[in-house]
Subunit: 268 residues, 2 copies
DNA sequence: CAACGTTTCCCATCATGTGGGATGACCTCC
DNA sequence: GGAGGTCATCCCACATGATGGGAAACGTTG
């Protein structure tokens, strides 16, 4: 049944179908208002109810889901939040919070820090004047400033831009052609920053810069976001320079994985 | 490693062995300095190298792990951080951050917010004067103030205290007897707060209060933590009242799951 | 009351994951 | 520089464990 077996390259499960399904099940909660019934899950994943149910139960047993007492609906469990926080710590992301807050406050923008997550930019830390940050959201690569930065300074081994999902248009300014995107990335690399001027939604202007690792690849991307009224053409350079300064600070704070250590404080 | 094998509430693994193993594999990174080789994982899980390797590859494909280019070691991947942030949002936890910061600053303590995660308290949000919070850490239930609160106002359906792992002693003050623990929980319920006075480590004193849901069960636990010099006997009541005030505020902010909605802002 | 849409359990089938072993690359310590 | 160790990675025959159909039990709605 389902998905062809071989095709080793990118799309096919290497050898664990049950696991892949379970993880896809978790990802279902990404696009969703929090709670799902077992049969909703089954439908959404095109699986038999039995299987979806069994997978969900297994995930509950491991704490990756939890089930509401009355409605019997599932939601993301404690283990997810726990491992998420742990992951942020291991990446040193918690050290970025005060920096982002300062950047957001001093520029009057919303500041976001994102990493590459497959074919998306995943916003992990947000500092904001009005706390409306996009924490935990995943954004397209081709239509956001964060994404362009992550593409322009992509790590080797990351998905190439030819393998990206189709470049969907969100506004009439969205870049939808591969050649066009490639040219834009060249421009971004040369300028040292990326701009999103109404390409993901009208009335939003974002500037993003890379947080580079020792090899010169993007460890993360840092963006300041507001409206064209705030980020005007003549003040753009200033916003970019502020972002660059913050990014340089983050390059020190976000040490490469090998140099990190586990912070085991006594808590109670 | 990982305590006893089948620690789910019912008994035997419900019906998905590969999935359970994969999730246990993720949990391996909890107790660990960030990066693990495939064979380390195999040893730690008492599995064949083949299986551990295949599971790890599957997890990488789904973004739950990532593999270092050179060392070939595994670490937690973007999906984990992403879903973690998402989970925090769906629980409304991001709204707790400013409250905790204010509490920590105004009391000069470290403030932590934790939820029940099986047989542990999982610290999800931390506000701190010196940013040394225990974000993402999992703490025992019997030897911490947070844990006592989560036990005292436990939700029905949660693991009973008889089913907890053995009550390990961390100091000579740690409660290690079930009867003793039960009596302590009665005291906690009556007083409305729990205390940890050197029971998890010497020189640490913590007071915790519950964040209750509509049914009167603990949605989360809130703690202020410092040294006995700061949280003195005669100032304890004041700390507790400040924590209670913060907890009441959080009870409004942390809405029950059914009333939450997905915040879909435009980000770029 | 009947007709749904659920969750949950059981079970025969066979696809699926399993671990042993082989290979080659990379160390470090003689 | 060779030897012994560790390591990641791949292959394959086997049987274990995951699969989906079906049915029972439940709650809700018309």
């Amino acid at each position: 049944m389902t998905t062809d077996a071989r095709a080793n390259g990118a799309g096919a499960p290497p050898g664990a179908q049950a696991v892949t399904r379970a993880l896809r099940l978790l990802h279902c909660f990404r696009d969703n208002p929090g709670e799902l019934t077992a049969s909703q899950l089954a439908r959404r994943m095109e699986l038999s109810v039995s299987t979806a149910h069994r997978l969900a139960r297994t995930l509950v047993a491991a704490g990756f889901l939890e089930q509401d007492e009355h409605s019997a609906r599932y939601r993301l469990g404690p283990s997810v939040a726990e491992l998420g926080q742990l992951s942020l710590h291991q990446r040193g992301m918690h050290r970025a919070v005060p920096e982002l807050d300062a950047l957001a406050r001093s520029t009057g923008t919303t500041a976001d820090l994102a990493i590459r997550g497959g074919s998306h930019a995943v916003i992990l830390v947000g500092g904001s004047v009005n706390a409306a940050s996009g924490l935990g959201l995943r954004r397209p690569l081709h239509s956001t400033a964060l994404g362009k930065v992550l593409l322009a300074w992509a790590r080797p081994g990351e998905q190439e831009i030819d393998d990206l999902p189709p470049l969907r248009a969100h506004t009439d300014r969205t870049i939808t052609g591969l050649a066009e995107l490639r040219a834009e990335l060249d421009r971004v690399r040369e300028a040292g920053y990326a701009l999103n001027d109404g390409e993901s939604a009208y009335g939003v202007r974002t500037a993003a810069v890379p947080v580079l690792d020792a090899a010169g690849h993007a460890h993360a991307a840092l963006a300041v976001r507001s409206t064209p009224d705030v980020i005007t053409d003549d003040r753009l350079a200033w916003f970019v320079s502020r972002a660059h300064a913050c990014a340089r600070a983050l390059e020190v704070l976000l040490l490469p994985p090998s140099q990190r250590h586990h912070a085991t404080g006594v808590v109670g």
